[in-house]
């Protein structure tokens, strides 16, 4: 009897234990589900689009390294001063930390936008969890993905088209990337239904357009113009076909400043912080910008500024002071060795809007963030006597407007305090540094200049070259609120330092040289010099004042300060506008071709062409990296290797 009970009891225990185990199996899945995370059904497409757009707005970490230290310099908006002597990307060097930081950021934004696309696609396919605007959001995500991919391809070159699926992707050539992007834009813009409106709550998740689908369509079409034009030199037929298809109607393009793709900045350490807002970044004006702006448009400085500035404006043919011992001469800037001791007689009216005038400290827009460093205008020039530096002259740079050339200044670096200081250099104005502006990714002016260039190439576009060109300048002047100078500006036939004028119909080439007066900076002796207009061997047409030179000059000036990457890309593609060589007082190891014998010529060997891949990539994706290097060809993964669409020599 006892044994039977024992057996039954044991049997009952086993059954109870087994059923307990089986019953609790259901809980295994619950245990593994994170209660604070969302799964695919819970997340909304617009949340991911929001992160992808905000991410590209760049938090201060990424922004300083990519926008300020790489793009502003490579795009010749600012001198390469903040990267430390003798500069980084301006001399063909790179910083792996900055590159890795930016690459990881980019990959993160593309991950989010690809998630948005795959979720939207799966919902449409399964026809569940669908809203009436889901298909439109899918097209918006595809358009934004194209922008992100173009940013990556224009910086590094070969990249993945079919990535973001959890496994290491294959890398595609730049040609395949561009063809993919153009196809995506064509398809996505055509599938946008502009009649659909989204609820207000959803609209808040688009910091650029509020999911106004008409604006997205215009942006998509204009992006198509930008990317098609990139192929103009290397694949002319494809470029023409895509461009003409996208430019069929002017109404479909981004042509008004109210349609600009712009995201509002916010003064906080987040994605929305201003890209140029780190107070320790000096960001002084570049020699390239100075040479383009001075003399262009014929508007007198005295007419642009208050009465009190009139006494600082110099005559038109005045070079200023000659300091051949203190400024480097081993470069092809025509003004090498001269320091203008006042304001230029005539200058593009955008110059004073973008850059401050040293000493103009009472101006509310003056960038004074670093105490005396930003405000003191008196600095010294020295002479080397044995091992000591002897003071030669104290110079007051207040109310002057000069620029510092990139490169290795050699001995002259310690002799000249005027150009290694905040208070003496024109720097980006305060309005760009306090995170109150809207960061513009695509401006109406760019559409017009692209149409103008297409017209010059003989492509079929809705506007004539002259109209597009003048409308582009008008859009830019309108953006900065300086429309009052427009009429006079458009009719100006005066040449800037590079030999280009504004008036579309004035295509007379400048003379070989012009006579200018100067005073010796130390002895005070007056003299005259014949100053050349610089030879730009990279622009193969060999002209300084033809239509394309004018278009790209105006496009460059209009894109400052928001789109320096496009300025770098245009120069890599066309060799326009004139980018002077970094100076080579002492040899620059990363630009081995730039020597005493070659510094007066323009060559792609003296210009950065791309960023090197981050050092971790070769370990994380060895197959992909090798594919990318093979596509790059030439010197492989180096800063000086030109991309597929750029000038190859």
């Amino acid at each position: 009897m006892n044994t039977i009970i024992k057996h039954t009891f044991r049997y009952a225990c086993w059954v109870a234990a087994a059923s307990l185990v089986l019953a609790s199996c259901k809980k295994f899945d619950e245990v593994n589900t994170d209660p604070t995370a969302a799964n695919e059904d819970q997340v909304q497409v617009e949340y991911l689009i929001n992160s992808a757009i905000m991410g590209a707005q760049m938090n201060p970490d990424i922004a300083e390294r990519s926008f300020v230290l790489y793009w502003e310099v490579a795009g010749r908006q600012c001198a390469d001063f903040d990267a430390g002597a003798p500069g980084v990307i301006s001399v063909g060097n790179y910083n792996d930390g900055w590159t890795t930081n930016y690459w990881n950021g980019q990959a993160g934004w593309q991950t989010r936008i690809n998630s948005a696309i795959s979720i939207a696609e799966s919902r449409i396919e399964k026809n569940e969890n669908l809203k009436e605007y889901t298909s439109n959001l899918l097209q918006v995500a595809r358009i934004w993905r194209v922008y992100l991919m173009s940013e990556m391809a224009d910086n590094w070159g070969p990249m993945a088209i079919d990535g973001f699926k959890g496994v290491n992707p294959d890398y595609a050539s730049v040609k395949d990337v561009y063809y993919f992007m153009l196809d995506e834009l064509k398809d996505a813009t055509s599938k946008l239904d502009v009649s659909i409106k989204v609820p207000e709550k959803v609209a808040k998740d688009d910091p650029a357009f509020g999911f106004n689908f008409t604006k997205w369509q215009k942006y998509g079409n204009s992006m198509r113009l930008r990317l098609a034009m990139r192929l103009s030199e290397v694949d002319g037929d494809k470029a023409k076909a895509e461009f003409e298809d996208a430019a069929k109607s002017l109404d479909g393009l981004l042509t008004d400043n109210s349609d600009n793709f712009a995201v509002q900045e916010q003064d906080s350490w987040t994605d929305l912080a201003g890209v140029m807002s780190r107070s320790w970044d000096v960001q002084p004006m570049s020699v390239t910008f100075r040479n383009l702006a001075v003399g262009l448009g014929g508007i007198n400085s005295a007419d642009q500024l208050a009465e009190s500035f009139a006494k600082y404006v110099k005559p038109a043919n005045d070079l200023g002071l000659r300091y051949t011992d203190y400024f480097p001469l081993k470069n092809n800037d025509p003004n090498a060795g001269y320091w203008l001791d006042g304001l230029p007689n005539t200058i593009d009216p955008r110059a004073y809007v973008i850059f401050c005038i040293p000493g103009d400290t009472l101006n509310s827009n003056f960038p004074a963030q670093n105490g005396a460093y930003d405000k003191n205008t008196v600095r010294n020039l020295y002479k080397k006597v044995g091992d000591e530096l002897k003071l030669v002259k104290s110079v007051n740079a207040a109310f002057t407007f000069n620029a510092r050339i990139d490169g290795d200044w050699g001995e002259k670096d310690q002799l000249n305090e005027l150009v290694n200081y905040g208070g003496t250099m024109p720097r980006l104005n305060m309005r760009f540094r306090n995170s109150t502006e809207k960061r513009v990714f695509f401006g109406a002016w760019e559409t017009y200049f692209l149409l103008a260039e297409a017209s010059v190439r003989g492509w079929t576009v809705p506007l004539s070259g002259k109209t597009a060109y003048e409308d582009g300048i008008k859009a830019s002047f309108n953006f900065w609120g300086i429309d009052k100078y427009l009429t006079a500006y458009l009719g100006s036939k005066t040449y800037n330092n590079d030999g280009t004028s504004v008036d579309w119909d004035h295509t007379t080439e400048p003379p070989a040289t012009r006579a200018m007066t100067f005073k010796d900076g130390i002895t005070g002796q007056a003299g005259t010099a014949q100053i050349k207009y610089p030879a730009n061997a990279l622009y193969k047409a060999g002209k300084k004042n033809d239509h394309l030179s004018k278009i790209i000059t105006q496009k460059f000036l209009a894109q400052v300060p928001w789109v320096p990457l496009e300025n770098w890309s245009d120069h890599r593609r066309l060799g326009l506008p004139f980018f002077e060589n970094p100076t080579v007082e002492k040899a620059i190891t990363t630009l081995p071709g730039l020597t005493d014998g070659t510094y007066s010529e323009a060559s792609i060997k003296f210009q950065p062409q791309r960023l090197k891949y981050p050092s971790g990539l070769v370990n994380q994706n060895p197959t992909g990296y090798q594919q990318a290097v093979d596509f790059l060809g030439g010197a492989g993964d180096a800063v000086l290797t030109p991309l597929w669409w750029a000038q190859q020599q």
Binding site: A37, A38, V167, N168
Partner: protein, 402 residues
């Protein structure tokens, strides 16, 4: 035991034991690391946004498997006055659950997989001695503890050969296949790298006579110690007990970001020389050759140039040997004699005083404690950066038994 069975051992061999063990242990994941999810958040404007994780999880991973073998022996001599405990062990951790780095263009910066074979092999020797052992007089016991552990990466995956453990700015600590755990990678002084040049290996300075760092990172050493040695001495005399522990760690390297910052600010002892100097190196002459540097610079410019490479300066300049010997612990106690306690309910009482982290006898880190590491939550102990110094503590204790 041997004697009981009729064998013969010398009389000074008191006790002997041989032991061996083989074990296999598993290890699991942290919670919620099986499925890939999204995290919902708010953007700076207060609107909802979402993002994905950085590690690609895989629901098919298996548990880790740690196989360990240990052989040890415990020997006592001279009536237990000398005791020797030696053990040798080898642990292989396979099927490690590692987040292996992948191309960020895959959507994730790392992927959770089973991989790797990480081996810990080492030996531990403990020697216990009673040097003076007479009841009523001074007793002196000394224990010496020696351990040597070699932590090596046998394999990671077929594709990946390095796995990041931690790091900061230009310093990275990685696990590399075929090397010891914790290789330190960082920038070096730029030197002439042409083996045919007669200046091969000399510092390559800028045109102003200042040193520069390389743009790439190089393998600078390993964070692992070669061996650890500890010696405890215990004295007792008529109720007083004094013991102190000397602790030494030998080998391994550590990067000091604190000292790098101090050099740049001029507060480091090494910068006390405030004169001018000529850096011993060469400068490029522009024609492919090199000339001797004769430019005089101030010591301030030199240290600032060292610090200006990246955010922590040239890593090689502040990579030190982490060898250090310290007096880690001193304890003094007094057992109250029985005759004082006979009439009280207290059976035993003792008063004690102890001090921890007493005295750093020798270290290479200019006064910084090599144990005040930066990345305390990780295995990357090869660098320190402005961590609070390790503390010294003093304790008084009174122990009563009823």
């Amino acid at each position: 035991m041997i004697r009981k069975t009729g064998g013969n051992v010398p009389s000074w061999f008191t006790y002997g034991k041989l032991r061996a063990s083989v074990a296999e242990v598993g290890n699991g994941l942290q919670p919620y690391q099986l499925y890939n999810t999204y995290s919902i958040g708010k953007d700076p404007n207060g609107n909802t946004n979402a993002s994905t994780g950085s590690t690609y999880y895989n629901a098919d991973v298996r548990s880790e498997l740690i196989k360990s073998t240990e052989i040890g022996t415990e020997l006592k001599f001279l009536q237990n006055r000398i005791g020797l405990d030696i053990s040798w062990y080898k642990t292989n951790a396979t099927r490690q659950l590692l987040a292996i780095p992948q191309d960020a263009l895959s959507g994730y910066s790392s992927k959770m997989i089973n991989a790797g074979n990480i081996q810990n092999e080492g030996v531990e020797v403990v020697l216990n001695t009673s040097l003076l052992n007479k009841p009523g007089a001074l007793n002196w016991d000394m224990t010496v503890n020696f351990s040597k552990n070699n932590n090596k990466i046998i394999a990671l995956t077929d594709e990946n050969h390095t796995y990041g453990l931690g790091g900061y700015d230009d310093v990275s600590i990685v696990a590399e296949t075929g090397r010891n755990y914790g290789e330190i990678y960082g920038t070096k002084f730029l030197r002439v790298d042409d083996p045919k040049s007669e200046d091969y290996g000399r510092l390559l300075l800028t045109s102003t006579g200042l040193p520069k760092g390389t743009s790439d990172k190089y393998d600078l050493g390993n964070q692992q110690a070669d061996y650890l040695l500890g010696i405890t001495n215990h004295f007792s005399f008529k109720g007083f007990n004094l013991s102190f522990l000397l602790d030494g760690r030998f080998g391994g390297k550590i990067f000091s970001a604190t000292y790098a910052a101090m050099e740049a600010a001029g507060t480091a002892g090494i910068t006390a020389n405030r004169g001018k100097m000529v850096v011993n190196g060469v400068i490029e002459d522009g024609k492919g050759g090199y000339v001797e540097n004769t430019t005089e610079v101030t010591t301030e410019e030199y240290w600032k140039a060292v610090q200006s490479s990246g955010n922590v300066g040239i890593v090689e300049a502040n990579l030190y040997d982490a060898t250090n010997i310290r007096l880690r612990n001193v304890q003094l106690s007094y057992n109250l004699p029985q005759k004082w306690l006979q009439k009280s309910p207290v059976q035993r009482a003792s008063l004690g005083f102890s001090c921890n982290n007493v005295w750093m006898i020798s270290s290479h880190l200019h006064g910084i404690d090599p144990e005040s590491v930066y990345a305390t939550g990780t295995n990357a102990v090869g660098f320190e950066n402005a961590a609070p110094p390790t503390t010294r503590s003093f304790m008084f204790n009174l122990s009563l038994s009823f």
